[in-house]
């Protein structure tokens, strides 16, 4: 008798986002740090953790930032929120990885030790010189999450700062200075159905001791993390190629974001964290429940939502492929894993 197949870690921890056979936008928020069992494993036990892509994704972020500094926006009035963000991120990492990471406070001095990156720093809150870096930039060098900070004033939430290198078809530099409601203006259905106004009212009342999360999803042609508006010419056309090349369909990625919504304790700003997970259709096929469910969702998806997510043209080829996947799945899967490691 053969032993059951070993499920790779990144499949086992993948936040498969379809609890139901149809998908609509909804105010799908739930308390953070709640583990979710899936057909392949579990996700969501920690607010922030480091997975097997940790070092590579952080190295990729550093390269992207060096090439395009506009991916980070900071502002003097958001400095307090940036320190809040840094301390929250380090504290959550330490909680998830106590054997490798420690955040310790002795009086006013914090000590951060991250063995995964061979990092050790002693710093005081509010003193960037002691940290040796801008607090937002340093936070982005320690967590895989993209970061957006919103300020609450006059009954609105304004995107005022952030560090985003792994956007899915949007641009931080474009959205900075806009309100939450303006940023979500183009999303279909959600205004008429009250999804965004409810989310807005929810965020205005969010309290520091109650972080929340939601998932969102899209599809992309390859495992490239940086799909920001700024680099569209580099990644946009690849999605079109999948329409005409059946061999490329298995390389399409289900791209899932786990987004955390957190009221920061001392500044009162809202921290929006986005962690991007990628799974190729070939890897998805290794979990039969997921393949079946994804086909159901895709088949039923209304045209306007499919258009907004950029998957309208992919629907037929993907459904066809899910029913009759091509040969050589395993070897292509290995290639896609190595591609995910190499910054492009």
């Amino acid at each position: 008798m053969s032993s059951p197949p070993v499920i790779p870690d990144r499949v086992a921890r993948f936040p498969f986002p379809f609890p139901e056979a149809h998908y609509r936008y909804s105010t799908n928020v739930e308390p953070a740090r709640t583990p979710v069992r899936t057909a392949a494993g579990e996700w969501g036990r920690w607010l922030i953790d480091a997975d097997d892509g940790y070092r590579d994704e952080l190295a990729l972020r550093a390269q992207i930032l060096a090439a395009d500094p506009s991916r980070m926006v900071s502002a003097p009035h958001m400095a307090d929120a940036a320190w809040d963000t840094l301390l929250l991120c380090l504290g959550e990492l330490a909680a998830a990885h106590p054997e490798e990471m420690v955040l310790h406070r002795d009086g006013a001095v914090y000590r951060w030790c991250n063995r995964r990156l061979d990092e050790e720093r002693h710093f005081r809150r509010g003193d960037a010189d002691s940290l040796g870096a801008d607090p937002l930039a340093y936070a982005g060098s320690q967590v895989q999450e993209d970061i957006v900070l919103l300020e609450q004033r006059e009954g609105e939430l304004w995107a005022e700062a952030g560090l985003v290198t792994f956007a899915a078809d949007w641009s931080l530099a474009f959205d900075i200075g806009m309100t939450f409601l303006e940023i979500h203006g183009p999303v279909p259905r959600v205004h008429v159905e009250g999804v965004i106004p409810r989310a807005h009212a929810f965020l205005l009342r969010l309290q520091p001791d109650a972080p929340y999360r939601r998932t969102n999803w899209t599809m992309s042609a390859d495992p490239r993390l940086d799909q920001s508006t700024e680099t569209y010419p580099e990644w946009g056309p690849a999605r079109e190629r999948a329409l005409v090349d059946p061999a490329a369909v298995g390389q399409l990625q289900l791209r899932v974001e786990v987004q955390h919504l957190i009221r920061l304790p001392t500044s009162g700003a809202i921290l929006f964290l986005i962690r991007t997970h990628l799974l190729s259709l070939e890897a998805l096929m290794t979990v039969p429940e997921w393949a079946r469910r994804f086909a159901e969702v895709l088949r039923e998806l209304p045209a306007d939502i499919a258009d907004y997510k950029g998957v309208a043209g992919l629907r037929a080829p993907v459904l066809g492929w899910l029913e009759h996947p091509g040969p050589g799945a395993a070897s292509r899967e290995r290639q896609s894993r190595s591609a995910a490691r190499s910054p492009t």
Binding site: D80, G126, E151, Q152, E154, G155, F202, P208, Y212
Partner: protein
């Protein structure tokens, strides 16, 4: 709903006139959470759940500090006044509903009497963050709670007035001469806050640039107790004050699908067959609320003594 679920221990207690100052420390040595300036905590007293502003340092506090004005007609404050060192009390986590506007060009704090309490943490944050600010403080002649500390923090940025005429004169001067982007924060007696708003309105202030502390604005009130009758299972469940209908049903072993516990996601919608729901959610539309045939169990309650539910 934020409920008093953390046990804290009275570390020190001292008095200024009719105000008791309590420092509440962790009884298990675990550090307390930082809080946003202007935050309050809820404290369970035998008579009621009361809200008190946090007056101490807001970053990595060693204790939560509150100041309790003794009211003759409110049992809660009298109970807190008779506590002594070592007593434990049930306290919620910090609730923020009166936060500083981070991008304000200037912060104008207007304080009346015991309304100083939520302003102290604002002023401390403004000092450490090098923010531009000033304070207009009105209180009766003689000593008043926290004024030594306020003076020490503010220096020349503090104006103190002890009569109505002087207050109005000072307010008129300062409200008429502010840089664009000033935010005014009010905390004091309701009559005084209304007078300040009226004056600011006459001087052309946009209403949203004036913030005032309203303890009930953010956290949902614990609500009155009520009962539910379950039509299908023919059971009855009591819902105590401070306990949500969803929690009471869960405790009774009745599963209701839910997600956010904040009245937002719509998962815990339950049909109402009789009785008038008190809607406190953000999910149902106005017409759904008016029809009264469903409620969100995680936050909503009952206007009467009993509801009949389709469970």
């Amino acid at each position: 709903m934020s409920t008093p679920e953390q046990r804290l221990c009275v570390a020190t207690i001292r008095r200024t006139g009719t105000v008791a100052h309590l420092r509440l420390g962790p009884s298990d040595g675990r550090p307390l959470g930082s809080f946003t300036p202007g935050s309050h905590i809820l404290i369970q007293t035998p008579a009621s759940v009361n809200a008190y502003s946090l007056t101490g340092p807001h970053v990595d506090p060693g204790a939560y500090e509150i100041s309790v004005q003794r009211h003759r007609d409110r049992g809660g404050s009298a109970w807190l006044h008779q506590l002594s060192v070592g007593h434990t009390v049930s306290v919620s986590g910090p609730v923020s509903g009166f936060a500083p506007v981070l991008s304000a060009a200037h912060h104008l704090f207007i304080v009346g009497g015991i309304g100083v309490t939520p302003i102290l943490s604002h002023v401390r944050a403004a000092v450490t963050g090098s923010r531009s600010f000033e304070v207009i403080d009105a209180h009766r002649p003689g000593p008043a709670a926290h004024r030594d500390e306020l003076t020490r923090l503010c220096g020349s940025r503090l104006t103190t007035v002890t009569d109505r005429g002087a207050l109005l004169q000072r307010l008129t001067e300062r409200l008429a001469d502010q840089p664009l982007g000033t935010i005014a924060y009010l905390c004091g007696p309701a009559e005084m806050m209304a007078a300040v708003r009226a004056l600011a309105d006459r001087l052309g202030w946009p209403a949203e640039r004036i913030r005032s502390e309203a303890f009930t604005g953010v956290a949902l009130a614990p609500g009155r107790p009520f009962r539910v009758r379950l039509a299908r299972s023919r059971r009855r469940v009591a819902v105590a004050a401070g306990v949500s209908l969803l929690e009471a049903l869960e405790t009774a072993g009745i599963a209701v699908p839910h997600r956010c516990r904040q009245g937002v996601c719509g998962e815990c919608r339950v049909g109402v067959l009789a009785g008038r729901p008190e809607h406190r959610d953000l999910y149902l539309t106005e017409s759904e609320r008016a029809s009264g045939d469903a409620l969100m169990a995680c936050v909503s309650r009952c206007l009467d003594d009993e509801l009949e539910l389709a469970l």
